[in-house]
């Protein structure tokens, strides 16, 4: 690599850094000036100056892309209208109408795909929470080699999702995959499962992969919450004759709920929008393993329907937004943040 190339790369980083620093410096100065000279409230200037970088960052990274997406959804942009798309509210309604009335995959329309996505999310979050909590309860007890188990159980979380997804895909290979080799050895040749070509089994394969990848996160969250539960409650309950089930449902779960509820909400959002696992396990082969975001990917990047894809993304956003609001109201998740 020549000096020129290195210098150019460094200069690009340097320019970006310099511009960011300069911009923030100017913003801070303006805020300082506005508070002191215009509002005559110099004591509040520091609060504004400290909040400004985060607010600007959020605006640029969240608000601007959302506005851009909204604008794009009001267009007919695709490869045929790439440089000169037309914009208008009629395009927005057309795009939204297409989301609900036309096939968004080759055969499948929006509603069956939404059902598939919800099914996928419910299965995943249920397994993540139940298994994660079970493992956390075990790890929270006095067992031997606890730290070793903890380390091993956390491994799937530490592995890059792309690597994990591709590795799992290999394990579901009909002939050379781990599962079918074991099944053949135990039950004979006829026991091999067509993981990649049968819709049901492909969906099962997707679920196995994502359960493996998602349980450690919930386990760590639950373990952290469990360690904050005072042991006195259990001692008192034991003295009153409470069994294990009663202690779990009357003490443990209510006490870890403030931590668990937001984690479940995160789990719902992440799983609903999980692109990696369906993509790597199914690779757009079977529609029965597609979910809304993989359909969105195809619309945007395989078929370059940018206007339609933006409208579709807005629909997914509002579905998730609605689910999150209902969930928060029902469970009181994020209540602690409000308090």
């Amino acid at each position: 690599m020549s000096f020129e190339v290195v210098a150019k790369s460094l200069s690009q980083i340097g320019v970006t850094l310099a511009l960011i620093l300069l911009a923030f410096g100017l913003v801070e100065l303006v805020i300082f000036f506005v508070y002191n000279k215009i509002f005559k409230a110099g004591d509040k200037a520091l609060t504004g100056m400290l909040l400004a970088p985060a607010l600007i960052g959020l605006f640029l990274l969240i608000v601007v892309p959302l506005i851009y997406e909204l604008i794009l959804s009001c267009s007919n942009m695709n490869l045929h209208h790439f440089k000169d798309p037309s914009f208008g509210i009629t395009y927005f309604f057309d795009n939204i109408k297409r989301v609900f009335t036309t096939k968004i995959l080759k055969q499948m329309t929006f509603w069956p795909l939404l059902f598939q996505t919800v099914l996928w999310t419910v299965i995943q979050v249920t397994f993540h929470v139940v298994l994660g909590l079970m493992l956390a309860l075990i790890l929270n007890s006095n067992i031997k080699f606890r730290d070793l188990y903890k380390g091993i159980l956390i491994l799937p979380w530490a592995m890059p999702p792309v690597i994990a997804g591709l590795t799992w895909r290999g394990e579901f290979h009909a002939e050379y995959g781990f599962f079918n080799i074991i099944l053949r050895k135990v039950f004979g040749d006829g026991a091999a499962i067509p993981w990649m070509t049968d819709g049901f089994w492909n969906f099962v394969a997707m679920n196995i992969t994502n359960i493996w990848m998602g349980v450690p996160f919930m386990m760590v969250i639950c373990l952290g919450a469990l360690q904050g539960v005072p042991t006195e409650y259990y001692e008192a309950a034991a003295m009153d004759g409470a069994g294990k089930g009663t202690r779990l449902f009357k003490i443990t779960i209510p006490l870890i709920k403030p931590v668990l509820a937001p984690s479940v909400m995160l789990g719902i959002i992440w799983t609903f929008n999980n692109f990696n696992v369906p993509y790597f396990i199914n690779q757009f082969m079977l529609e029965s393993s597609d979910i809304l975001v993989t359909a969105l990917y195809r619309a945007a990047f395989s078929y370059n329907q940018y206007g339609f894809a933006a409208a579709f993304a807005l629909v997914i956003f509002f579905i998730l937004f609605g689910i999150s609001i209902i969930y928060m109201k029902q469970t009181g998740a994020l209540k602690a943040v409000g308090d």
């Binding site: 460094l10 200069s11 490869l79 045929h80 080759k106 070509t197 395989s302």
Partner: protein, 408 residues
Amino acid sequence: MKKAILFLLTVLISIPFISANGTKEATATNDNVSIEMWTKEGDADGTLQWTMGLVEKFMAENPTITVEVVKKTTVDELREDFQTASLAGYTPDLLWTVSDHAGPFLTADLIQSVDQFVDLTKFVETVKTADGSWAVPMSSGNHLMLLYNKDLVSNPPTTTDELIKMGMELTTGDQYGLVYNQTEPFWLVPWLGGFGGKVFAADGVTPTLNTKEMIDTLQFVSDLKNKHKIVPSECDYNAADTLFKEGKAAMIINGDWSLGDYEKVFGDKLGVTRIPMVSSTKKWPAPYTAGIYLMVPKGIDEAKANAVAKLVKYFTSKEVQYSQVNDFNRLPGLLAAYDAPKLQESSILKGSSYQLEVGTPMPTVLEMRAVWDGIKPELAQVLAGNLTPVEAAGLMQASAEAGIAAQK
């Protein structure tokens, strides 16, 4: 620690000013020009290193031109990034990519005619419309062919009947007669040609997947797996490649990009020939031919266009084209380079050229995406025995038509 961070920031911030001064000086003399090239070549097979070496040599010979090579991990990444960059108004000055990108780039009006850069009559077939030619062929081929292990196959099959007979004899224990990437439509297309079919009608954009030829083709590939059992029950690219390299497969259908790799493994024991003629139709399978093409984005200024023209001429010079043949077994894009000694001497390249004679240019139209997506899942279902060829052909057609309608 604080001092170190402060120092680093100072250095990073000061570099642009130093470098900007340098750039100003260069622009002032109006001599230097800097161009950016995006390539799809990878480092695993050494093609990226080779490309970088070419660029270094070009810059040494043309000290006023600086070429920055940006490697894109996959061809899809290159396509998507280029489209996004074009929207943002920041494009590279030259693209080194696969021919099928010409379709989307032309539809979106992102590339310019290359007629001004080289004389296209001196090259193999390229992407042409009424308005001109849109890509300079760097290499040609990218076609599938039959490769065989000479330790297991002394005389390769020339017809599908021979292929099946030989395949059945060679499929024993953990060894297979034939392996290939069964569920990828690119591997289905040669057989479709052998049965007399095409994916598009004469207008080049209307899909013709629900045809007798397609049904026969699907029946044939299904029979290879389910009736004659000469191919593994499931076989993707990696499985086929590994089985062949490990000597557990006598024959493989693979592309010219794999020749260099297999030559290293098998040496003289590697045989290359045409995919066998379909016995029932007496037609040769017609794999898609494409290649690596150089494309020039729209809107680059005159100084850059001149530098790009020089670079394209260098890449398509006889010397570089020979080097491509010698180092990577790629067939040249420049017709004059077909006299390369290796092309006359190497049985591998002779076999590859022999297959190329019956190949058919891969359509570069945007509609091809919908055709690929239409074929793939239904092909897998036929192989799995979940759909009959008749059902699958109908679904393929409907799917391709829906995909094309969505692109409008």
